[in-house]
């Protein structure tokens, strides 16, 4: 029916199409895998606030601004007043002697008495109940960076870990710490209601 030449072309074309389909699917699956979608999420914020400067250069403790992390379920985002504790005095200027634009934005929020609407980087599903206080309690040995990555190197905060359930379980299912009661089989509870209520 077909000429030999045309038939060869069909073989070649099909091979190309199929292999690209396989590779494309593999790549797409990887790129769109929910955990990979979350990793690397780095939204633009209303103020270009740099953790690299605050936490990296000036070595301000996380807890100074996210003061609720050791007290309650939510680490909390600092109120504008907390920013102003320093920035009422520290107001860097650019080469022309004008206030830097990001500082101007902050002062405007303060003047307008307006809360800042940050983009949520770490956003768990509504059916997940995570408690910062429990994870930072003495004995857990956890640091902020264990889940949030090296924030002190980031100009714009990026989600380093997926925070998906499998990622949580990696840690929860580790062997129990020395001295744990014998019925404890894992490092932390893996029962449904621990996180889902």
């Amino acid at each position: 029916m077909f000429t030999r030449r045309f038939e060869r072309r069909i073989y070649v074309a099909t091979t190309v199409v199929l292999s690209s389909l396989v590779m494309g699917t593999a790549f797409g699956t990887y790129a769109l895998w929910p955990a990979n979608l979350e990793r690397g999420y780095q939204p633009e914020q209303p103020i270009e606030f740099s953790h690299a400067i605050m936490a990296g250069k000036f070595k301000i403790e996380c807890i100074y601004c996210h003061s609720e992390a050791e007290k309650g379920p939510h680490a909390g985002i600092p109120d504008v007043e907390t920013c102003m504790k320093c920035h009422a005095v520290i107001q860097p200027k650019d080469a022309r002697g004008e206030l830097k634009p990001e500082i101007v934005k902050l002062l405007d929020y303060w003047e307008r008495r307006e809360p800042i609407q940050w983009e949520k980087v770490y956003d768990l599903a509504d059916f997940v109940y995570f408690d910062h206080r429990r994870h930072l309690a003495p004995g857990t040995g956890l640091e902020c960076a264990d889940c949030h990555g090296p924030v002190e190197t980031m100009d714009r905060v990026e989600r380093v870990y997926s925070l998906k359930m499998a990622w949580c379980l990696d840690c929860h299912m580790e062997p129990p710490p020395a001295g744990a009661p014998p019925e404890q089989l894992t490092r932390a509870s893996i029962h449904c209601s621990t996180c889902h209520r």
């Binding site: 091979t15 199409v17 929020y109 109940y129 209520r197």
Partner: protein, 989 residues
């Protein structure tokens, strides 16, 4: 077409794998044309894309501007306040999360309710976030500003010659003082109090009998014998929380010191109320015969038993029963109390005062309170007289006369006012009829106070910034009074209503107290405990004169109008939690009915859902019939509060308004009509939504009931009546030897069936309402329900109430059938439901013998949400479930975790009582106890060891973790059946 070549796809694959392919080998060819190939490609890429979709929508995290230091995100704050919307000023503890109230609970230290709450109190949350609330002042249909309102009202008040201020009865001392100033400042002003459900008749009789306005407070905790004359003191009549706590304290052998201490409850009533359902002896009583019964009992106590016999014969009651009742009262002088329903005429109450005096109840089982929380209401006839000739300005504060004025004349009266100003939460019937409709603050947005008794004051504080452009009624009154009385220095000194309130407290309540007293009162929610008062002397002559009045004339049928158990007099009709709260006895939701005895219905030739017309004088109301055993023959019992025509999407056009049938002659709040004409009539097809379809236990041991005599003879009788659980089983037992093991115990002797726990559960666990149609389909979502069963005979049935919730079985049948492992067992004995795993096969619900699993047939949160303000009511500590997900009681697992966290922070183990699920916390009867079964010292472990403890359907070997304690009733030995009779839980209906 014949083709012997290798299909190109296959050949490519083989060649790619390095294999030589002979073209001739494979046949026949599977042809893939271009079209199919493209389709396949499109489908696979769509699959690849569709699986991952996109990252979920971004969300904001909003910092505060300057956060108060006491505010911790995600951590609750509790505020003490007072419930000013209802008939009794109970204390509220409001749980605030991130600046919004998410749960209303009882105030633990409060002198009246001590931490418990009624259904209506808890449902206040839903009213607060009601999207149908009036949001801004209106003149006709136009929205206007408050300045404009004040200008119009003050101008009209200045020019007026006749002003009527119509308020509800619940006014605090500070507001009463302000009302007095208003009346003084306005020319021709009169303050009238309008209520349809109140105790005006009782108050009148007490005033006559004791010479002063006040109220009697029965002490059920001290009474060994209680006689209720048509008084639903456990349901809707008076201080139900105090009464339930006191009554329940003497009902359970598990918690009283000795069985001799158990109390006995007699009731003679027209319908079948919650109190009647809990009575040891139930007599039918026509309302017109109440006076005769009390009189005959008085005579019998005085030594003349003949009158009692005559009464018994006339009312077709067994003489033996009444003689036993008289003897029981006589034998318990000083430990007996008689109470009569607020809807009965003052003559009955006067007679009851005399009877109580003869029983030595004064100062023992009855206490006197000279400072009732409510003002005595005015007679409707007086209100009508004041308004029918027309008034210049009518101001209504939180009342709805257009809906509920006796005789249905409210609309005509309001229309006669030259300027009608209505203040209310909703644009209800009255506000529609008013020229100015003014939105009020909700009670949770208000400053107020209340009288709790002599020397005891409740303080009401706002727990949220007002949601809408509303203003508190008292604030309006203050603004107008200030404008009318510019020379009054005291008024002018009060910048606003909170300032007035504080000033009033400083002078009258906290005079001589340290400066911290105000902050202290705010923190505690009240000031001062109630002081014991001397019991006033009885004016025997005055009381006799009232008691000697002729009883009401008797007709063929008699009508009793009671407040609805949930929506009360209609004020809570816009509240979905309350509309969907099943009536404790009939399980009716979203509706009211004419409740008839089977005999009455048969005589009229009607059945359930048929219509009757009830005519009193020239007014008639058509009602659907609900036949209920236990109701007195010849009586029509119905409830007020339904048939609203302007109560938002929830409350409008639900049921029938029976307020036109209220007697309008000067009768001080009587709510009986002893001569009504009842006829069968036709009406639209009506369907009752009832959450329970069958009321018989079919002889199975579901609710176990035993008499005190049976219990004394064999405390272990429940074990003999339930089937034993097999000793061995296929599955291995769970190992609970370490850690916690959560267990619940429910004492059926204490539970009255009041259903407050249902609303507590709704609020705590974000349980949606589904509406009448879905309730008819059996798809209500309540995790906690009250099952009601009838036993005994149809005339005086035994009624059994049983709270039913997930039993958290050790061998849970639901767990083994879930194909997704979405319901799992926790090492602490909880049966966990994981919403995000659930795919909605509903296998678990089918396999649950208790029918406690609920399925989200629709996306109720989205369907029910018409306004974002409703979302504020959600408890953020519990997931809001979507369509297609199964859900059920979790034992309030969020509270378990909270208690564990608190204990871990304090570095101590979780103590008994640290975890209280919402149902236990609110239970007025303290019937529910939760705790760690592994802790032998815990209360729940002690109850589970009680000989009365049994498991429902234990024979299925599901090993439930809810222990029910068999209900012990205390009938008089002379009347109780010999032990052994009716041995299985309860008979057929």
């Amino acid at each position: 077409m014949k083709d012997h070549r290798l299909p190109p796809l296959l050949a490519t694959a083989w060649r790619a794998a390095g294999l030589a392919v002979r073209d001739e080998v494979l046949h026949p060819p599977a042809r893939i044309d271009r079209r199919t190939l493209l389709e396949l490609m499109a489908a696979s890429s769509a699959l690849a894309l569709g699986a991952g979709c996109d990252r979920k929508p971004p969300r904001k995290i909003v910092s505060m501007h300057d956060a108060p230091e006491y505010l911790h995100p995600g951590q609750p704050l509790h505020y003490a306040t007072t419930w000013t919307d209802g008939p009794v000023p109970y204390g509220l503890m409001v749980r605030n999360l991130d600046g919004r109230p998410v749960k209303v609970e009882g105030l633990p230290e409060h002198p009246l309710n001590r931490g418990t709450a009624t259904a209506a109190m808890q449902a206040a949350l839903m009213s607060l976030y009601d999207p149908d609330r009036l949001r801004a002042p209106r003149r006709g249909e136009a929205e206007i500003g408050w300045d404009e309102v004040d200008r119009i009202v003050v101008e009209a008040l200045r020019a007026a010659r006749k002003v009527v201020l119509l308020t509800r009865a619940m006014l605090g001392p500070a507001e009463r003082a302000l009302v007095a100033r208003f009346v003084a400042a306005c020319r021709g002003a009169v303050h009238l109090v309008h209520e349809t459900v109140h105790d005006g008749a009782r108050r009148l009789a007490w005033r006559v009998a004791y010479g002063a306005d006040g109220e009697l407070r029965p002490r059920y905790d001290r009474a060994r014998v209680v006689l209720s004359v048509d008084c639903d003191f456990l349901g809707t009549d008076g201080d139900v929380l105090g009464a339930t706590a006191g009554w329940a304290a003497r009902r359970s052998p598990a918690t009283v010191a000795a069985t001799e201490e158990l109390s006995r409850l007699w009731i003679a009533e027209a319908g079948l109320s919650v109190t009647g359902a809990n009575a040891d002896h139930h007599l039918s009583l026509l309302p017109s015969a109440a006076l005769g019964l009390v009189g005959a009992l008085r005579a019998a106590l005085g030594g003349d038993g003949a009158a009692l016999g005559r009464w018994a014969d006339a009312e077709h009651v067994e003489r033996r029963v009444l003689d036993t009742l008289a003897a029981d009262l006589r034998d318990h002088r000083g430990e007996a109390v008689v109470v009569a329903g607020a809807h009965l005429p003052a003559s009955v109450h006067a007679a009851v005062c005399l009877l109580n005096d003869e029983l030595g109840a004064a100062g023992t089982t009855l206490e006197w309170c000279s400072a009732p929380a409510t003002l005595p209401p005015d007679d409707p006839a007086k209100i009508a007289r004041a308004m029918e000739s027309g008034v210049d300005v009518l101001v209504t504060l939180g009342v709805n006369p257009v809906y509920d004025f006796p005789g249905g004349e409210g609309a005509a009266l309001v229309a006669k006012a030259r300027l009608a100003v209505g203040h209310g939460l909703h644009r209800d019937e009255t506000l529609h009829a008013c020229h100015l409709a003014l939105p009020s603050h909700h009670g949770l947005e208000s400053w107020n106070d209340a009288l709790l008794g002599a020397g005891s004051y409740g303080l009401c504080q706002p727990v949220i910034t007002p949601l809408f452009a509303s203003r508190q009624e008292a604030e309006s009154l203050l603004a107008w009074t200030k404008a009318l009385a510019p020379g009054d220095p005291e008024l002018q000194a009060a910048a606003d209503w909170p300032a007035w309130l504080r000033r009033h407290w400083a002078r009258n309540v906290l005079a001589g107290e340290p400066d911290t007293a105000w902050d202290d009162a705010l923190r505690r929610g009240f000031h001062g405990m109630r002081q014991a008062e001397a019991f006033p002397a009885l004016n025997r002559k005055g009381a006799e004169a009232w008691a000697g009045r002729a009883p009401s004339a008797r007709g063929e049928h008699e009508l009793v109008l009671l407040p609805h158990h949930a929506v009360f007099d209609g004020r809570f009709a816009a509240n979905g939690w309350l509309q969907e709260l099943p009536e404790p006895i009939t399980k009716l939701v979203w509706d009211n009915a004419a409740v008839l005895a089977p005999a009455t219905a048969a005589a009229l030739g009607v059945e359930d859902e048929d219509w009757i017309s009830v005519r009193s004088g020239d007014r008639a109301v058509n009602l659907p019939v609900l036949v209920l055993p236990g109701v007195a023959a010849g009586v029509v019992v119905t409830t007020l509060g339904h048939g609203r025509t302007a109560a938002g999407t929830i409350g409008t056009e639900r049921g029938v308004n029976v307020a036109p049938l209220l007697p309008e002659t000067p009768r001080m709040g009587e709510r009986i009509v002893t001569r009504v004409d009842v006829q069968r009539t036709s009406g639209p097809n009506h369907t009752f939504a009832r959450t329970q379809k069958t009321f018989s236990m079919e002889g199975r041991p579901i609710v176990l009931r035993g008499t005190r005599q049976e219990y004394e003879a064999n405390p272990h009788f429940p074990a003999a009546r339930t089937h034993s659980t097999p000793d061995s089983q296929l599955h291995p037992d769970w190992d609970y030897s370490t850690g916690h093991k959560w267990v619940m115990a429910i004492d059926l002797s204490r539970c009255t069936g009041c259903s407050a726990c249902v609303v507590a559960c709704n609020a705590e666990n974000n349980i949606p309402i589904v509406g009448k149609d879905e309730c008819t389909n059996g798809r209500e979502m309540h995790w906690m329900r009250l099952d009601t069963y009838y036993g005994g005979d149809a005339e005086h049935p035994e009624v059994h109430s049983q709270p039913m919730l997930c039993q958290h079985c050790d061998n849970a049948p639901c767990e083994t059938v879930c194909p997704f492992n979405a319901t799992a067992h926790s090492p602490e004995g909880l049966n966990e439901q994981v919403y995000n795993r659930c795919a909605g096969t509903r296998y678990c619900a089918n396999n649950c013998p208790y029918k406690v699993r609920r399925f989200n047939f629709f996306d109720y949160p989205k369907l029910a949400t018409t306004d974002p303000v409703q979302e504020l009511a959600y408890n953020p500590q519990v997931t809001v479930r979507m369509r297609g997900v199964m859900e059920k009681c979790t034992f309030c697992v969020q509270r378990i975790h909270e208690a564990k966290f608190r204990a871990a922070d304090a570095d101590r183990p979780v103590a008994d009582g640290d975890v209280r699920p919402a149902c236990q916390q609110t239970c007025p009867a303290a019937a529910i106890v939760f705790g760690d079964g592994n802790d032998p010292a815990s209360r729940v472990a002690a109850l589970a060891r009680s000989p009365l403890a049994y498991h429902v359907l234990g024979e299925l070997n599901v090993r439930p973790n809810v222990n029910y304690l068999a209900r012990i009733v205390n009938p008089h030995p002379a009347l109780s059946a010999p032990p052994g009779a009716g041995a299985e839980g309860g008979g057929d209906r």
